[in-house]
């Protein structure tokens, strides 16, 4: 194996997944969660961000029995099992919807846009949904 191939195997890139959609109305939220869980198996530096309507994905007490869809909000709890520990929620998006970190299904780091901007700028790959 030459030197280039070895580097390709050992380099760790910073991947950020940006969630901006509400759950259930479209398939984006569920699809992104599944992508994150698959990607977590590849030992990269993964972070997940929720902003705009994406913060609604994490709202507690979701009950989908009335709409005949799978309640996937419990699956966000698996992120920790997959060692995805960098989970950020934009402060401004929460506030605009009258929500706080206490309303969310998992512990998150709430960041103001001024701070989230810097975290975003440090990424090698940003995947948006």
């Amino acid at each position: 194996m030459n030197e280039l191939d070895e580097n390709a195997l050992t380099v760790v890139k910073r991947f950020m997944y940006v969630n901006r959609r509400a759950p259930y109305g479209t398939i984006y939220a569920l699809e992104c969660l599944e992508v994150v869980l698959v990607a977590a198996a590849f030992d990269q530096d993964v972070s997940v961000v929720f902003l705009d309507d994406g913060v609604c994905q994490l709202k507690k007490n979701q009950d989908t029995t009335g709409i005949g869809m799978k309640n996937f909000s419990k699956t966000y709890g698996a992120l920790d099992d997959y060692d995805v520990e960098k989970i950020y929620v934009e402060k401004e998006s929460l506030a605009a919807r009258g929500l706080t970190a206490d309303d969310l299904v998992i512990p998150v780091e709430v960041l103001a846009a001024d701070d989230l901007r810097d975290v975003m700028a440090q990424q090698d790959v940003v995947i948006s949904s």
Partner: protein, 100 residues
């Protein structure tokens, strides 16, 4: 006229356009992601509160519950309906307009 809003007011302007163009006395039913417009503590709540005198507002309960909003304060004066109520509303109004 029964107006149906199924888009989040944070992401689309369907509710804005409906409020601008719907005739006074119309009914407006928030469904799917449109239910986020009913959040009392949200930044845009005034948009609906200011028009309570012009329109009757309704929200679809199963879509509220699915999104975890059953415990969140909704704007006072918005009536929660179930699927049966939705069907009744469609039957009672002479026409339905979906703001997709």
């Amino acid at each position: 006229m029964l107006h149906l809003i199924n888009k989040s007011p944070f992401e689309r302007n369907a509710l804005d356009s409906c409020l601008r163009l719907a005739k006074s006395g119309s009914s407006i039913l928030l469904i799917e992601d449109g239910v986020y417009a009913a959040l009392a503590k949200a930044a845009h709540a005034e948009k609906i509160i200011d028009r309570m005198g012009d329109f009757s507002f309704y929200v679809l309960g199963p879509d509220v519950a699915a999104r975890g909003l059953s415990d969140a304060p909704l704007i006072e004066g918005i009536d929660v309906v179930d699927y049966e109520g939705f069907v009744d509303m469609v039957a009672e109004h002479d026409a339905t307009q979906s703001w997709l």
